[in-house]
């Protein structure tokens, strides 16, 4: 099992591609199906995109995690941007189903198995998501 984590600095839109490619590679290495790897890569793309759009820069940390009897992948997207004023609003489905508005967070939550968000206006945002191998 891998020790260590993969950190991808997010400063530009090109980094979004890098982050999701590394995420997909890690997922495949951990034995996720190609379908799940696509879900994981897509989530990473959305989370990295939020960083670029709202905070201009931040970081994505990818790593393998061990559950009680299964393997999974953890993605942490963090930035020191403006933070989210109203998390409940941001997590409301109607806020992003158009696909072009909002933060896409409810969608990411649907794609992943675990979802946690920590955000403070003026301090930044940390989104942690996990997906477990079937």
């Amino acid at each position: 099992m891998r020790a260590g984590e993969i950190r991808v600095a997010i400063n530009s839109d090109q980094d979004i591609v890098t982050a999701r490619q590394k995420g997909r590679a890690l997922a495949i290495e951990l034995g996720f199906s190609t379908g799940d790897a696509t879900l994981i890569a897509t989530s990473i793309s959305e989370l990295a995109r939020n960083i670029v759009s709202y905070a201009r820069k931040g970081e994505i940390i990818l790593k393998a995690v061990q559950g009680s009897s299964r393997l999974g992948i953890s993605i942490v997207a963090s930035d020191r941007g403006p933070g989210i004023w109203d998390i409940r609003q941001a997590m409301k489905d109607g806020f992003s189903t158009s696909g072009s508005l909002g933060l896409g967070l409810p969608g990411v939550r649907r794609l992943m198995d675990e979802f946690e968000i920590d955000s403070e206006p003026g301090r930044g945002t940390i989104v942690t998501v996990k997906k477990w191998k079937q």
Partner: protein, 120 residues
């Protein structure tokens, strides 16, 4: 990153690659519209077979491409969305509503030909 745009009669075929950044997509959007005007194309096929991830930006860009091309009197079809990508897209709520889609290049061309017939 250069995206090849082929001309086949009245139809332009743009083949998207896998690792297109936002800037690439923007560039592509402008380029496609220019080409449609230049060649007076009636249809555009955007082949996304190689795209392994379609996120909100890509989805929005595709819709904008279709919209702008329609303003110039041409029809757009998106082809080659992979099953896994389609699944991820609908989970995120990205449905490409208002944009025609087909399975592959062959189906896309058939769709456009049918469309031209109906218009003529």
């Amino acid at each position: 990153m250069e995206v090849p745009i082929l001309k086949q009669g009245e139809v332009l075929i743009a083949t998207f690659q896998a690792a297109l950044s936002d800037a690439d997509l923007e560039h592509l959007r402008r380029g496609l519209v220019q080409q449609v005007v230049k060649f007076r194309s009636r249809g555009v096929i955007v082949d996304v077979t190689a795209m392994d991830v379609m996120d909100s930006f890509a989805s929005r860009t595709l819709r904008e491409i279709a919209h702008m091309i329609r303003l110039r009197g041409a029809e757009t079809v998106i082809v080659g969305i992979q099953p896994e990508v389609a699944f991820a897209m609908v989970q995120l709520g990205l449905t490409l509503e208002g944009v025609a889609t087909a399975l592959d290049l062959e189906e896309g061309l058939a769709y456009l030909i049918q469309k031209f017939k109906n218009i003529d």
